[in-house]
């Protein structure tokens, strides 16, 4: 087994644990490279099926390419697809800086959707290497009633024994890609020939490394037009993956506060 085989096997194990231990679970689909890999892994785990709903919490501000991708593959992959709308921006805390406000709006949309479908848990495609706060996450990560994350008191997690016992009312985030890196995602996408949105490839010297709302997501300098070139670029770059995501950078602890409040 090579590194990608090991990563795949671990993710499948996590999917199967969560599906067996937790009732009423759904997957979050952001349409980005990571959540596409996540769907792919679910199909591997469940032998071609995705036996739970796949939900896109829509800000209405994604790139047109992303919507086209979503509509095509929700159908082609046979997903139980749900689209949930976020509340209008006016309803979100006005004191937040602009980009964080957009993120907070998405968090509000997420809370609403969880409430609506009474999901006990959600699969989310976050990775430890994306960002320092995510590095501290657990694979099975319990949230408070409002979706808050208490990073000060997280359950122990060892020997692939995840926390699967919860008092009623607990919401759980399950992270099947937590142990993957950005390079792993691309190498796996390449190996498995997973469809990808074109925005990730360089046009006129720029490409998107991470996709979010179009008004707060910016491309990075790049000449990479193929996956192997992206991988080569990532092996040498010192720019962080989320550098094009404005909401991370508005204050020193912006992202941590977003996450503590329930953001992915």
């Amino acid at each position: 087994m090579d590194r990608l085989d090991q990563l795949e096997s671990q993710s499948i194990y996590i999917f199967r644990e969560a599906f067996n231990r937790i009732e009423n679970i759904a997957m979050l689909w952001s349409l980005g490279k990571d959540s596409n890999v996540m769907i792919w892994l679910a199909r591997k785990a469940f032998f071609g099926h995705v036996p739970f709903p796949v939900m896109h919490v829509d800000t209405g501000k994604k790139f047109p390419e992303m919507y086209a991708f979503r509509d095509r593959y929700a159908d082609e992959w046979g997903l139980k697809f749900l689209r949930e709308e976020c509340p209008p921006i006016e309803e979100v805390d006005q004191s937040l800086p602009p980009a964080a406000r957009s993120a907070a709006r998405k968090t509000a949309g997420l809370k609403k959707a969880i409430e609506k479908y009474q999901f006990n848990a959600l699969f989310a495609g976050i990775r430890r290497d994306e960002e320092a706060t995510r590095a501290k996450e657990r694979v099975f990560s319990p949230r408070g009633q409002g979706g808050q994350w208490d990073f000060r008191d997280q359950p122990p997690e060892f020997w692939d024994q995840y926390k699967t016992d919860f008092p009623p009312g607990t919401h759980i985030r399950v992270h099947p890609l937590l142990h993957w890196t950005e390079v792993d995602i691309w190498a796996y996408t390449q190996r498995e020939q997973i469809p990808t949105i074109d925005l990730y490839f360089a046009k006129d010297g720029k490409r998107y490394r991470s996709l979010g709302d179009k008004d707060i997501t910016f491309p990075v300098d790049s000449t990479a037009t193929t996956i192997p070139e992206i991988i080569e670029e990532l092996r040498t770059t010192k720019i962080s993956e989320r550098s094009g995501r404005a909401m991370d950078h508005e204050s020193e602890d912006a992202f941590e506060r977003l996450r503590a409040d329930g953001y992915l």
Binding site: M1, S9, R16, F47, K136, F158, K238, I239, D253
Partner: protein
């Protein structure tokens, strides 16, 4: 065209190949400089994102605090405020040789669970000791826990050498003290390296200040470690994680923990002991040219279908027939406890053993281990952050391995209420594998013959019913004395009875059995079956065996049914030691007899015996009177 060629040529041929990844955990006493060392490691290997160093420096200036490399790791607001690492955090760096995941585990005692979380995910460990402070409680505890968690590759960095003037003498003292400690728990650290994380000595680059040190830098030491490999060459262990029926296939899904299997293999499911053959190995692929595999090995998450529709469920452990796992209701464990409430003898918890979950009771806390000097103490409770040896009993059969035989199926966790509160590794010391007992009926084509004489007719003729009086208790409790005296009294009263005694049956019926846990269990099984035959023949069988294990006595009870009477001949160990009729306690205490019940092996008291005879408190004559009355009441027709 030309441009495309240029592009391709610039691609590193290795880029397509995934680079090796090693996961290392960094542990040590609080304030011994772990985060600083990690920050330095990043900086010196050129692994920091652009601008990170500058932005942290600027942040420090804004706050008016001196720059520390530790701030690079401790990115969380709360941590900067408290000055200690709260949770285990992961971060990636690269050397020329390969990629690394660093798991920074906090040194503060309160956060042990995070250190365990970190250590469990790692291939190797870097343990840090402050050169000025020397070996501290947490240095030892972390060394001990790494061993318990199964981490076998350990390098030690003696940090802050700049604070002790880079003196070799100080380093040598610490190295010797710590190597001695690690050796006493069976760990041989590969490297002990003098470093200064703050100044950058012996991290990625050598040290001009310590020319006396000839060994590798931290980076070189790490590069010499190997990633954990799946246990491909061991016996097959494949826990059932789930059974799916999404389409016409009924797929048994799970991850192979060790060994391998192929289509056509005959499999055993433990503890149900059902068998079936592998019909197919199922796998999904989007590729048209995909052919399903016919073989699967350790580490792979797979699915199989079977040739027979047997009922199996999550939690069963799949193996081949010839090297199946141990089956037992009881095991011993060395565990660490993380629970808010102490682990308490007699209390129930949920056991998670692979994918199997079942309630268990802590039968006994055997000893508390002080990890700083390895001394033992006795207690009924294991407090948070303590390490102990305990005996755990389930209400149903478990399938497991000893940790020394299989690192993956020989470990477990305990759940208290909703929380994972402890983890441990399994030993079967003193306990027998029950598998051969469960699978006892080897012969086929056997039919029971109906007897011409009924049980009632025999009882009428004899004037009493047949039965088994099963005496259990410590050696020296008085079982044989009472059994023989009772036999004589019963004879005088017209009963037909016979004593089955330990030493006597070992001369004949059980002459081929020794004293291993399995042989002891078989010894009791045969006595139980023999006693049941006596009972069916209409006699009173009186058995006089220590029979210390509940599972053995339960089996004897099952053989004789309702006419089985468990009689606990009770005397405390001190009393028995003083009596010591065969001189056995003396030998056991001197270590001449191993696994002697009450001294070096457990005695499991009966849960609800039919009768208790307390020979420490009651004179012999009175004991006999109680017994006679009991027999007259229960067996006289």
């Amino acid at each position: 065209m030309g441009e495309t060629n240029v592009k391709l040529a610039s691609i590193n041929p290795d880029a397509q190949k995934a680079r090796d990844l090693l996961r290392i955990v960094i542990v040590g006493h609080v304030d011994h400089g772990k985060s600083t060392l990690v920050g330095r490691l990043f900086h010196d290997t050129g692994s920091l994102p652009d601008g990170k160093y500058e932005s942290i420096k600027a942040m420090c200036e804004r706050r008016g605090v001196p720059f520390e490399y530790a701030f690079l790791m401790d990115a969380l607001q709360a941590e900067r405020d408290q000055g200690i690492t709260i949770d285990t955090s992961q971060i990636w760096f690269k050397t020329e040789a390969r990629d690394y995941t660093i798991i920074d585990a906090p040194g503060h005692k309160e956060f042990l669970k995070n250190m365990i979380t970190g250590a469990a995910q790692s291939d190797a460990a870097l343990l840090i000791i402050d050169a000025a402070e020397g070996v501290r409680e947490q240095s030892r505890r972390h060394g001990y826990l790494l061993h318990l968690m199964g981490v076998r590759q350990v390098a030690v960095a003696v940090n802050k050498m700049d604070l002790v003037g880079y003196e070799q003498e100080q380093f040598d003292l610490i190295e010797e003290e710590y190597r001695d400690y690690l050796r006493s728990i069976g760990v041989e650290p590969t490297f002990v390296i003098p470093v200064s994380a703050r100044e950058g000595d012996n991290i990625a680059n050598g040290s001009k200040s310590m020319p006396w040190y000839k060994g590798p830098t931290v980076v070189k030491a790490l590069d010499s470690f190997l990633p954990n490999a799946p246990l491909v060459d061991q016996s097959l262990r494949f826990p059932v994680q789930d059974v799916y029926k999404f389409d016409q296939r009924r797929i048994i899904a799970g991850r192979i923990e060790s060994g391998s299997l192929k289509v056509g293999d005959k499999l055993v499911f433990s503890p149900s002991n059902k068998t079936a053959k592998v019909q197919s190995i199922e796998s999904w692929s989007a590729r048209d040219d995909f052919t399903p595999p016919t073989e699967a090995v350790a580490g792979e998450s797979i699915g199989i279908t079977l040739d027979e529709q047997i009922f199996v469920e999550r939690g069963e452990l799949i193996s081949h027939e010839e090297d199946a796992p141990i089956e037992t209701e009881v095991f011993r464990a060395r565990l660490f406890w993380l629970g808010h409430d102490p682990l308490t003898a007699g209390k129930s918890y949920k056991l998670k053993l692979g994918t199997f979950e079942t309630p268990v009771t802590v039968q006994k806390v055997d000893r508390i281990i002080d990890t700083s000097d390895l001394s033992n103490s006795e207690s009924e409770q294991v407090e948070r952050n303590q390490v102990a040896e305990v005996t755990i009993r389930a209400r149903r059969m478990l399938a497991l391995d000893e940790f020394t035989n299989n690192g993956r199926t020989g470990r477990f966790v305990l759940v208290d209420n909703y929380d994972i509160a402890g983890g441990g590794i399994i030993s079967m010391e003193g306990y027998a594998d029950q598998r051969s007992m469960i699978m006892a009926t080897k012969s086929t084509n056997i039919t029971r013959v109906e007897h011409g004489v009924s049980i009632e007719e025999r009882a009428r003729r004899n004037g009493h019913k047949g039965g088994v009086l099963w005496f259990t208790g410590l050696s020296g409790a008085g079982k044989s004395t009472l059994a023989v005296a009772l036999e004589k009294l019963l004879f005088e009263k017209g009963y037909s009875s016979y004593v089955l005694d330990g030493d006597n049956v070992r001369h004949g019926l059980n002459a081929n059995l020794g004293f291993s846990p399995e042989d002891r269990a078989e010894n009791i099984r045969r006595v139980g079956e023999t006693a049941a035959l006596f009972q069916r023949a209409g006699m009173l069988a009186i058995t006089s065996f220590i029979s210390p294990y509940r599972s053995d006595r339960d089996r004897a009870r099952a053989a004789a049914g309702d006419s089985f009477h468990e009689i606990y001949v009770k005397a405390d160990v001190e009393t028995c030691k003083q009596r010591d009729p065969k001189g056995l306690y003396k030998k056991a205490i001197a270590g001449e007899i191993k696994e002697f019940t009450g001294i070096s092996a457990p005695y499991e008291e009966p849960d609800s015996p039919n009768l208790v005879i307390d020979t420490a408190e009651t004179p012999l004559e009175e004991c006999l009177e109680i017994l006679i009355n009991y027999v007259e009441r229960n067996f006289r027709v």
